[in-house]
C-alpha cells in the first residue's frame, strides 16, 4: 500500500536513485581512461616513473597520478551490480515492493511464528492441566511470576497488592469471583466495573454523607458517625439492588462487598462520598488476544496461587 498521496514522490525517488547509481557507473567508466602525458620519470624514486595528469602550476608543480589498483575498480563495479540486484529484489525504488515481497511486518510475523514453535509446547503442556495443578508446579510459578512482572505489574504493582483503583490480587477479596475459572475469565476477557453516580437518587449532599457513614458502619469502622449512619441506613435501599442485602456485594455484577475493610479507592468518608456522588468506572483490559490462552492459563494459576496455598514454593 502506498503511503504517498501523489505519484510524484514515487517518481522522484526512482529517478534520483537510478540516476545516482547510473552516475556512479558513468563516473567510473569515464575516469578509467588515462588522458594526458604518460609516465614521466620522477627523481628520487629509483628511476621509476609516476604518471601525471598533465596539470602544471607555477612552471614546475605537477599533479601526480597514482592509480588505484585494478581490483579496487572491480569492487566499485560490484557494488553497482549489487545495488541493482538489491533494488530488484527488495523494496527501495519508491512503491515497488521488490521481487521477493519482503515486508517488515512479514519479518515480524516470522519471528512470532518461530517463537511460538519454540515456546508453544511448554505452554500447551500447562494448558492441558488443571489450574490448581499448574499453581503447584514450581517452574510454572516462576514463569507466572515473570509474566506477571512483565504484563500485570504496571497496574497491580510488582507485589500484586495493587493501588488506588487497581485491585489487590494477593488477598481473598474478589470483585468478580476468586475461583481459578473466574480469574482466568477476568484475564482473558477483561472486566468493566461501573458504579453509576448515585448523588441524584439519594438527594442532597447531607444525604450522601449519611449514606457514606452508614457504609462505614457496615465494616465496623470507628470513623462511622452513629447518628449519620442511622439516617443513612434508610437511603441505603437505593444501593441494595447492586450491592446486595447487607451490602455484601454481588460478584455477578462486580459490585464490591461494602462490609469489609478492603477499599479499592480508599476508605475515608470523603472518598466514599466521592464514589457515591460521581460514580466509578474501571476497566481491566482483555488479555486473551494479546497473550494467548497458554500464557493466560499460567498467569491465572500464578494469581490464584498468590492468595491460596498452592504447594511447595519454587
Amino acid at each position: 500500500m502506498s503511503d504517498f498521496t501523489s505519484g510524484f514522490w514515487d517518481l522522484y525517488i526512482v529517478l534520483l536513485t537510478t540516476l545516482g547509481i547510473a552516475g556512479c557507473a558513468l563516473l567510473l567508466w569515464s575516469q578509467s581512461r588515462h588522458r594526458g602525458p604518460a609516465v614521466e620519470a620522477v627523481p628520487g624514486n629509483g628511476g621509476k616513473g609516476i604518471g601525471t595528469t598533465g596539470h602544471v602550476w607555477d612552471e614546475d608543480l605537477t599533479e601526480l597520478n597514482t592509480p588505484m589498483p585494478r581490483w579496487w575498480m572491480w569492487l566499485f563495479y560490484i557494488t553497482i551490480v549489487f545495488a541493482a540486484a538489491y533494488l530488484f529484489l527488495y523494496p527501495g525504488l519508491g512503491t515497488y515492493a521488490g521481487k521477493l515481497g519482503w515486508q517488515s511486518a512479514g519479518a515480524y510475523r516470522q519471528e512470532l511464528a518461530k517463537a511460538d514453535s519454540r515456546y508453544g509446547p511448554l505452554f500447551d503442556k500447562y494448558r492441558r492441566q488443571d489450574l490448581k495443578a499448574v499453581a503447584a508446579d514450581p517452574q510454572a510459578r516462576a514463569m507466572g511470576e515473570r509474566l506477571f512482572l512483565t504484563y500485570c505489574a504496571q497496574c497491580h504493582g510488582s507485589d500484586a497488592r495493587g493501588n488506588k483503583g487497581f485491585p489487590n490480587l494477593a488477598d481473598r477479596d474478589w470483585l468478580h469471583g476468586g475461583d481459578p475459572a473466574a480469574i482466568e475469565q477476568t484475564i482473558l476477557h477483561g472486566r468493566h466495573g461501573v458504579m453509576p453516580p448515585m448523588g441524584a437518587a439519594l438527594g442532597s449532599d447531607r444525604d450522601i454523607e449519611n449514606v457514606a457513614h452508614y457504609v462505614l458502619s457496615l465494616s465496623g469502622s470507628a470513623a462511622a458517625d452513629p447518628i449519620r449512619s442511622v439516617f443513612g441506613k434508610g437511603k441505603f435501599t437505593a444501593c441494595l439492588a447492586c450491592h446486595g442485602a447487607g451490602g455484601t456485594g454481588n460478584q455477578a455484577l462486580g459490585a464490591p462487598n461494602l462490609a469489609d475493610r478492603t477499599w479499592l479507592y480508599g476508605g475515608s468518608a470523603d472518598t466514599i462520598m466521592e464514589t457515591i456522588r460521581n460514580g466509578r468506572d474501571n476497566t481491566m483490559p482483555a488479555f486473551g488476544d494479546f497473550l494467548g490462552e497458554g500464557k493466560v492459563h499460567v498467569l491465572a494459576a500464578y494469581v490464584w496461587g498468590l492468595s491460596n496455598d498452592a504447594g511447595p514454593a519454587p
Partner: protein, 446 residues
C-alpha cells in the same frame, strides 16, 4: 585511474629476523588454533557466546555490563602498539600481524609446491600446460585447506568447537554457521593468497599514520647511504654492490635503498638478505640495519642510540600503560560476580497499610554472574524501623537473572514526607565477600 597490479614473488631468505618471524608465527598460531580446544570447568575455556550474551575467559564470566573491561583491553592494546611503534617502528606489521603471519604460511606452501622465486616467475610466464595446471591446483587446494581450518577455528571461538567439529563432520551445520565458516575461510584465502601486500598498501590505516607515530629516535629499517653509496658492481666504491637481493626478498615490492616508504612493513627480510651478502663479500654486516633518523644524520653509536630510548614519549607511554594495566588488573581481581539494580514501582508513590505504616514496592533485578548457584539475603536500611515485608532470601542459579519483587515497610512517622534515601544490601549466605549495596528511594506520602 587504475593500474593492473604486478604480482610480487618474494625471494626466500634466511637470517636472524626471518627466524624471529617464524617464531612469532608459531607462537601466535599455537595460541590461535589451540585455545578453542582448551576446557575449563566442563565447558570451553575461551568462548564468546553471543547468543547468550556471555563471554567466558577461563574462570571469568563477562556479561554485557562488563563491556568496560573490553574497552580497557582495547585501550591497553592501542597504547602498547603506540609504545612499540615509537620504539621500534612497524614490528607489529612485520612480525605478528595476522596478514603477515598468514601470508608467510601461504608463501611457504607456495614455495614448496611451485618452487623458488625464479621458478614461480617462470611459471607465471608459461602458457597453459598440464604441469602448470597441476601445480596451481595443488597450491590452491593447500591454501584452501589452511583457510578452511582457520575459518573453522574462528567460528569455534563463538560456538563450542567440539560440537562445531561434529556438525562439520556430519555436514549438519546451520545456515549461519556455514556462512561464517566459509566467510572467514574465504577472507583468509583472499587476504593471504591473493591480496597480500595490497592490504598493507591500500587497506590498512597503520601504514598511513606511521609517520605520526615515528620520531627521529624510532628504530626503523635503514639503508646506510653514507656507507653504501655510490653503489657499484665493481669494487672500491660504496659497500652496496647493487645485487638487488634486498629488492627481490621484499614482500612489499619496494627498494629500501630509496629510504623510508609507507609500503615497508618492517619485516627486515632485506636486512637478512643484505647481511648474508655482506658475509659472502667479506664486508661488515649492517649495511641495511635497524637504526634511527638521528643516528643516520649524526652518525651515532649503538650506545648513543640506546640512550635515546628513554625519551619522554616512550616514558609517557610506559607510564600510561602501567597505570592502565594495574587499574584493570585490580578491577578484575576485586570484581564481585553479583549485580543488583533497584527499580522502584512507579504505580504508587507509597501505600498506607493498617496501623499507618507506609509501604513502597520495588523490583530487585539480581544478576548472579558467577557459574555457581547462590542464596542471597536481602537487607534494607536507612530509616528507623525499616523492614522487608516480603521474603528476605532469593535463590539464583549460576548465570541467572531474576527480578525479585520486594515490599519495604516503614512504621508510621519514620522518614520525612517525600523521598527518603535508603539502601538495599544483598549478601550471599555462603560467601560474605559477595555483597552488593544499592541506593534507592523510599517515598512517604504527604
Amino acid at each position: 585511474m587504475y593500474e593492473k597490479r604486478q604480482p610480487i614473488h618474494p625471494r626466500e631468505t634466511d637470517g636472524r629476523y626471518a627466524r624471529l618471524r617464524w617464531l612469532c608465527v608459531w607462537l601466535t598460531q599455537l595460541v590461535y588454533y589451540g585455545t578453542p580446544w582448551l576446557a575449563w570447568n566442563g565447558r570451553q575455556a575461551v568462548l564468546f557466546d553471543l547468543g547468550a550474551r556471555k563471554f567466558y575467559v577461563f574462570g571469568l564470566v563477562l556479561w554485557p555490563q562488563d563491556f568496560i573491561y573490553l574497552a580497557a583491553l582495547l585501550i591497553l592494546c592501542a597504547w602498547a602498539l603506540f609504545l612499540v611503534t615509537a620504539v621500534a617502528g612497524r614490528v607489529w606489521c612485520g612480525f605478528a600481524c595476522p596478514q603477515t603471519v598468514y601470508t608467510s604460511i601461504f608463501l611457504w606452501l607456495e614455495r614448496r609446491i611451485e618452487g623458488s622465486r625464479a621458478a614461480r616467475i617462470a611459471l607465471d610466464r608459461q602458457g597453459p600446460s598440464v604441469r602448470k595446471f597441476a601445480r596451481r591446483t595443488a597450491r590452491h587446494l593447500a591454501w584452501g585447506a589452511v583457510a578452511l581450518w582457520t575459518g573453522f577455528t574462528f567460528v569455534g571461538y563463538f560456538t563450542p568447537v567440539r560440537e562445531l567439529g561434529m556438525d562439520v563432520a556430519t555436514l549438519s551445520l546451520g545456515p549461519w554457521q556455514w556462512f561464517w565458516v566459509l566467510f572467514y575461510s574465504f577472507a583468509t584465502y583472499g587476504n593471504a593468497g591473493w591480496l597480500r601486500e595490497q592490504v598493507c598498501r591500500y587497506m590498512c590505516p597503520y601504514a598511513r599514520f606511521q609517520g605520526a607515530m615515528f620520531d627521529r629516535d624510532t628504530l626503523i629499517i635503514t639503508y646506510d647511504t653514507v656507507r653504501g653509496e655510490p653503489r657499484s658492481r665493481k669494487a672500491a666504491n660504496g659497500a652496496c654492490i647493487d645485487c638487488t637481493l634486498c629488492v627481490q626478498v621484499c614482500p612489499a615490492g619496494i627498494d629500501i635503498r630509496n629510504g623510508l616508504q609507507y609500503e615497508c612493513i618492517g619485516c627486515a627480510a632485506c636486512v637478512d638478505a643484505c647481511n648474508n651478502v655482506m658475509d659472502r663479500t667479506g664486508q661488515p654486516r649492517g649495511l641495511i640495519r635497524y637504526s634511527t633518523g638521528r643516528a643516520m644524520a649524526s652518525r651515532l653509536t649503538r650506545t648513543q642510540i640506546g640512550r635515546r630510548l628513554l625519551r619522554p614519549r616512550v616514558l609517557a607511554y610506559c607510564a600510561a600503560l602501567l597505570a592502565a594495566s594495574l587499574a584493570m588488573g585490580y578491577a578484575l581481581a576485586t570484581r564481585i560476580p553479583l549485580k543488583v539494580d533497584v527499580l522502584r514501582d512507579r504505580g504508587s508513590m507509597g501505600r498506607e497499610v493498617d496501623g499507618g505504616a507506609v509501604e513502597n514496592v520495588y523490583r530487585l533485578q539480581v544478576m548472579n554472574t558467577s557459574e555457581q548457584p547462590h542464596r542471597y539475603r536481602i537487607a534494607v536500611a536507612g530509616l528507623p524501623g525499616l523492614a522487608l515485608a516480603t521474603g528476605s532470601v532469593a535463590d539464583l542459579a549460576g548465570t541467572e537473572t531474576r527480578a525479585v519483587p520486594v515490599r519495604v515497610r516503614a512504621p508510621h512517622g519514620a522518614g520525612k514526607p517525600g523521598s527518603n534515601a535508603i539502601t538495599f544490601t544483598l549478601t550471599a549466605l555462603d560467601d560474605a565477600r559477595l555483597s552488593v549495596g544499592e541506593r534507592a528511594v523510599f517515598i512517604v506520602p504527604h
